[in-house]
C-alpha cells in the first residue's frame, strides 16, 4: 500500500489538485435565499424553457459544467474526465448532460454526498497521474426529486416540521494538477452507517450518524483537532440533523466548536417556510462551488472541511420498511 492512505479511511494528497473555478446555477427559490449573491445563474422559473423538469435538471448540470470550464478559460475538450451524479433513477441528469459534452464520463451515485464524493475521486485521479483536468459536479431539482420520491407536485399535503426541501441547483468544480487557487488537500471516504431511522421525511436524522462517523475518523486519521479548520460544513443535514450531529459527537467525546455549519441550513432562510433546511445533491454543490469557494478565494476562509451527507435508500426500500443507510464523505480544501 502506498503512503497516501492514512489511518482507517483517509487520503492525504501529496500534490494537492487545484480548484481552478466553480460554477453554479439555481432555481428561483434558492435565488431568493441568503446566498443569492454567490450564484452564477438564477433561473426565472423551475422549467427554464424546457418541456420537463428532468430536461431542466440535465440542462442545469450541462450549464454548470460548461460554465466552470469557461470561467477557468479551459476548453471542455481538454478535460480528461467528468465525474457527476444526481438523485434520479439511473442518474439520468448526469448521463444526459455528459452526452452533450462528449468527453469521458464517470457516473457516480452517492445520493446527496455526491459533490464531496466527486471532488474526492477527481482529486484522486489527478494525484494518481491518471488525469490533468477533471470536472466534478452534482445536481438536484426539487420537482424531479418530489415526483420520484414522494407525491405528484400539485398534490396537496402538509410537510413534517423536520422535512427538508430539495434544492434546485447544479454546481461544478474544475480540478487541475497545476494552477492557482484553493487545493483539495485530503479526503476521508465514508462508511455506510445505519442506526435504524425509517422515516424518509427525517433525512437529517438518517444521515447524522454517518457524518459523525466520518468526522471522528477524519480527525483521528489526520491527527487534527476541529479548530484546525475555519469552517466544518456538512452537506445537507438541515437544522434537525445538524443538532443531532452535535449531540452524537458530544456523546462520543468529540465536541465541536462554533465553526460547524451545514449547507442545508445556509442555503435557505427560515422565513422561506422550508422547515428544516435544504437537501439534495445540488445543496452542497451550489454552496461549495459558490459561497465557500468565493470566501476562500477572497481569503475569508483558509481551511474548510466539507462532509457531504447522503442517504442511500430508495422509494422501494422505504415502502418495504427497510431502515435508511447513510454515508458521509469528507474533503478538506485549503488555500495558503
Amino acid at each position: 500500500m502506498g503512503s497516501k492512505k492514512v489511518g482507517n479511511q483517509s487520503i492525504i494528497f501529496q500534490n494537492p489538485p487545484f480548484i481552478l473555478a466553480g460554477y453554479n446555477i439555481v432555481g428561483p427559490k434558492e435565488g431568493e435565499g441568503p446566498l443569492k449573491d454567490s450564484y452564477d445563474q438564477i433561473m426565472k422559473d423551475t422549467y427554464n424553457g424546457e418541456k420537463s423538469w428532468e430536461k431542466t435538471e440535465a440542462k442545469m448540470l450541462e450549464t454548470a459544467l460548461r460554465g466552470v470550464a469557461d470561467k477557468a478559460k479551459v476548453t471542455v475538450d481538454s478535460v480528461d474526465f467528468v465525474l457527476a451524479g444526481d438523485l434520479l433513477n439511473q442518474i439520468i441528469s448526469s448521463s444526459f448532460a455528459a452526452r452533450q459534452l462528449g468527453i469521458p464520463f464517470i457516473g457516480l451515485y452517492g445520493a446527496c454526498s455526491t459533490m464531496a464524493l466527486s471532488t474526492a475521486l477527481g482529486a484522486m485521479l489527478i494525484e494518481g497521474g491518471f488525469a490533468g483536468q477533471v470536472l466534478c459536479a452534482a445536481s438536484s431539482h426539487h420537482d424531479t426529486a418530489e415526483r420520484q420520491y414522494r407525491m405528484p407536485t400539485e398534490q396537496g399535503n402538509q410537510r413534517a416540521m423536520y422535512a427538508q426541501w430539495t434544492v434546485t441547483g447544479a454546481g461544478a468544480l474544475l480540478l487541475a494538477a497545476s494552477g492557482t487557487g484553493p487545493k483539495v488537500t485530503s479526503a476521508t471516504l465514508g462508511r455506510v452507517i445505519d442506526l435504524g431511522t425509517t422515516d424518509t421525511n427525517n433525512m437529517g436524522a438518517a444521515m447524522a450518524p454517518a457524518v459523525a462517523d466520518t468526522i471522528l475518523n477524519h480527525f483521528q486519521d489526520l491527527n487534527r483537532q476541529p479548530d484546525y479548520y475555519d469552517l466544518i460544513v456538512t452537506g445537507d443535514l438541515g437544522t434537525v440533523g445538524l443538532q443531532l450531529l452535535k449531540e452524537i459527537l458530544k456523546k462520543s467525546n468529540f465536541p465541536m466548536g462554533k465553526n460547524l455549519s451545514d449547507c442545508g441550513v445556509m442555503v435557505f432562510s427560515p422565513k422561506q417556510d422550508i422547515h428544516a433546511g435544504g437537501s439534495g445533491c445540488g445543496c452542497s454543490a451550489v454552496v461549495l462551488s459558490g459561497y465557500i469557494l468565493n470566501q476562500m478565494n477572497s481569503g475569508e476562509l483558509k481551511k474548510v472541511l466539507l462532509i457531504g451527507s447522503g442517504s442511500l435508500h430508495s422509494p422501494t426500500s422505504a415502502l418495504q420498511g427497510e431502515s435508511i443507510p447513510a454515508i458521509g464523505h469528507a474533503v478538506s480544501i485549503e488555500i495558503s
Partner: protein, 157 residues
C-alpha cells in the same frame, strides 16, 4: 505514515439511544394551530358547498337531492381547476386535513397525478398512474362498502 490497527472511533450510541434522541430533537407539528386552521379551511369549503346547494335549489329549481349532486360536482370542478392553476397544494399546506378531507381534496388527488404524469404519455403515464394517490382510498373505500353491504343484507335476513 499509515498507522495500522486504528479502527475505533465508532460513534458512542446505540440505535435505541439514538431513537430517543431523534424523537427529542425533531420538531413536533403545531397541533392546536393546525387543528384550528383545518377546521376553518374545511368549514369554509363546506360552507361554499352549502351556498352552492342553496343556489341550485332557489335559483335553478333543482330538487334537494339533485342540488346536492350538482353542488358536489361544482366543488369537484373548483378543486380540479385550483389544482390545475397550482393553488390547491398551497391551500392544503395552510389548511391541512381541512383541504384534504372535503371532495375538493379528492379532486386534487385525481387531477395532480393526471397533470404530473402527462409527460410519460397518456397510456402508461396518465393511464397507469392516475390512481397513485386516490387508488388506496378507492380500493379500501369500495372494499369497506361491499363488506358493510353484505353485513347489512345478512342482518336483514
Amino acid at each position: 505514515m499509515s498507522n495500522s490497527n486504528l479502527r475505533p472511533p465508532v460513534i458512542n450510541l446505540t440505535p435505541e439511544e439514538y431513537k430517543t434522541m431523534v424523537q427529542r430533537i425533531s420538531p413536533k407539528p403545531k397541533a392546536i394551530k393546525n387543528a384550528v386552521l383545518a377546521f376553518m379551511v374545511g368549514g369554509l369549503i363546506c360552507s361554499i358547498g352549502q351556498i352552492l346547494i342553496n343556489i341550485y335549489i332557489n335559483y335553478f329549481g333543482l330538487s334537494k337531492v339533485s342540488a346536492q349532486t350538482a353542488g358536489t360536482a361544482t366543488l369537484i370542478l373548483i378543486g380540479a381547476l385550483l389544482t390545475g392553476l397550482g393553488v390547491y397544494d398551497n391551500i392544503v399546506r395552510f389548511g391541512g386535513a381541512g383541504g384534504i378531507v372535503p371532495v375538493t381534496g379528492f379532486a386534487n388527488s385525481m387531477v395532480s397525478p393526471a397533470l404530473e404524469y402527462k409527460r410519460e404519455g397518456y397510456v402508461f403515464g396518465v393511464g397507469g398512474k392516475l390512481f397513485t394517490v386516490a387508488g388506496p382510498i378507492l380500493v379500501y373505500g369500495i372494499a369497506t362498502s361491499i363488506l358493510v353491504g353484505i353485513i347489512y343484507v345478512l342482518l336483514r335476513l
